[in-house]
Symmetry: C2
Subunit: 374 residues, 2 copies
């Protein structure tokens, strides 16, 4: 069949357990996508990413279009062949990074023009160009170009950006080359305004997409505002299509969003934290820079399946981090990416078993045993 | 038995094929030891080092005594347990790094005092302290403290340093705790002066060591002077003990030294080059920073057993290096460490088969197909 097949396998309350099938394999949902910004999940080989249990990774159109260039990646056989990641790949539209360039970009109805942060060269990103780039990259999931605002923002601004994003959604759909195992996702906007979110979803559904993303959250608003918005907004989205909460988040954000019916997530947190000495564990986060780990022979988690979590002492990890050794970034990133996959495995099993409530309660009790990320 | 067992298995001319047995396993010689400076072979997991075929790694006493501290490593179970490297480990004496601090160190008959490059704190390294540190680190091969000069140096200076190193050799031997599977190596000095080298070897043999290292070469002298010195000096060393040429070198240095009867090598070149975009291949070195690799779909070596050499295009490696991605350092270091192990595997097989001459000729023809390291 054309596009992406999505099958709902189980439910627990509003939480969903599904399977998304692509030309490069299936993704069991709820799923977390490690971020592979510039064609690499930073500090890991793709084999390490695979061993952690990740089934799909995310690539950043903005970074890849500037270096090495989308057409170059296309000539080299696409992102799968270029990077050695043989599983499914989702790419973002490039919009989020471009919007954050603020002074260096200019937005019009046509699209957005901007200057590269690398060399100042001028570029244009339109809905059509973004879809074309993602086609060159051979992305299994293409994201429409949208305008994502920082929150809080005036309601008029939020509405304008939502309406523009809808017009860009229609142009993205028209530009997308339909083919088996590849799909296009629309993105709802509307900030934390339920009525705007509903109008956004209605507009997208009228166009028709393989999946529906919730954009423009986790951009400055409090967690409870985000969760309240997701809870009100999830019923606006088609039951039979995957739902992707973009750029989220911390483990507890993910757990709460899964409860509210979200299927897909991505965030730089596990990878970025791994390069700054932060480890995610079942019992909260651990800052390996802290001198209290100097003489600690205990691993991060003796029961983890991840070699980085299980086979090295905190004393050794502390030493690597303090010495700015590359291996420190490698091991902590591996631990973190594996931890996020463990989190998703646990959520999937709990939904299948119909015991998500108990699972979430146990998760919160474990997390409470340590402090939050500083 | 106490100490280290060394067995000569084959010869081809003056080249030797041997086996050195330690408490943590055997080393097939000739062997190259990747440098694991501060308890990590930079940018690799120990599993990647093992997969490359390395049988022994080197740790730096200077770096480890300053951070995380030798006594701390000792309390944590030694370097094997600390780093996860279960095979044999050789540690240097710390002397080489300390001597290179020049303005920050003071040499006396007793030893050398110096200030840490990390925090300026004062430290002392004596022959006894160096042996004690290496004991704490659980090194299978302990190196005596010696004085290593930069060449060229006045003959009087070279002689003085050689004689001091001999007295330190005797003190190192007296301080060494003899035990099964652990050994102490003496180090000859004397620059490129054959007579001084001979006196140095005679002095060491009178003391008696598990192995004999040639120190103070590859420190500024031309390659032909180094090779001439090794050729004249090798017969000074006991036939039935391993010979270790310290800090050497490029592949062609190693090949020529193996022909002259050397068994063990170490050098930062494969690891350091891997972090600056240089790849060693059968056909010479490749600078991945060079723009000519931008669109090259070919891997570094399709016939290599190393995933980094075989499974990624030069275009991808170029992209990673230009983008300062950690994965670039990981893959190029892996390629380089694997290449050095391939080199040693080839030399061992050639000596066993009695065809070292042909093997070296083929090696040189292959290397000549590309240019030298810039």
């Amino acid at each position: 069949m054309n596009g992406l097949r999505f099958t709902l396998l189980a439910r627990d309350g509003t939480a969903r357990r599904g399977r998304l099938e692509t030309a490069h394999g299936a993704i069991e949902t709820p799923a977390f996508m490690p971020v592979g910004t510039a064609g690499t999940v930073k500090a890991l080989t793709m084999d390490m990413v695979r061993q952690a249990g990740a089934q799909i990774i995310l690539g950043n159109t903005y970074h890849l279009m500037l270096r090495p260039g989308a057409e170059r990646v296309g000539r080299l056989g696409g992102l799968h062949r270029f990077t050695g990641w043989t599983g499914p790949i989702l790419t973002d539209s490039g919009g989020f990074q471009v919007m954050s360039l603020s002074a260096r970009r200019k937005l019009t109805e046509a699209g957005v023009t901007f200057r590269s942060h690398l060399d100042g060269s001028a570029h244009e990103l339109t809905p059509e160009r973004s879809v074309g780039i993602q086609d060159s990259l051979d992305a299994n999931v293409t994201m429409q170009l949208d305008e994502c605002l920082k929150l809080p923002a005036p309601r008029g601004e939020v509405e304008r950006a939502m309406e523009l994003s809808l017009r860009w959604a229609a142009r993205s759909k028209a530009a997308f080359r339909t083919r088996p195992g590849y799909g296009l996702f629309g993105i709802t906007q509307g900030g934390t305004d339920d009525a705007l979110r509903r109008r956004s979803a209605e507009g997208l559904k009228a166009i028709g997409f393989d999946g529906y993303a919730i954009g423009g959250l986790a951009v400055g608003e409090p967690q409870d505002a985000m969760l309240r918005t997701i809870e009100a907004h999830a019923p606006d989205l088609p039951e039979d299509r995957p739902r992707y909460l973009m750029g989220v988040g911390r483990p507890d954000d993910i757990v709460e969003a899964v409860r509210r019916g979200v299927d897909l997530f991505d965030c730089v947190m596990p990878t970025r934290s791994g390069r700054t000495g932060q480890a995610f564990t079942r019992f909260g986060t651990v800052n390996l820079r802290n001198a209290r780990h100097k003489d600690d022979p205990a691993p991060l988690d003796p029961e983890s399946g991840c070699p980085a979590s299980r086979d090295y002492s905190r004393a050794y990890l502390h030493h690597l981090v303090k010495s700015d050794e590359i291996l420190g970034a490698m091991l902590l990133t591996w631990n973190n990416v594996w931890h996020y996959q463990d989190l998703m495995r646990g959520l999937r099993a709990a939904i299948e078993a119909g015991r998500l409530g108990d699972h979430v309660a146990a998760f919160k009790a474990d997390e409470a045993r340590s402090g939050p990320l500083p």
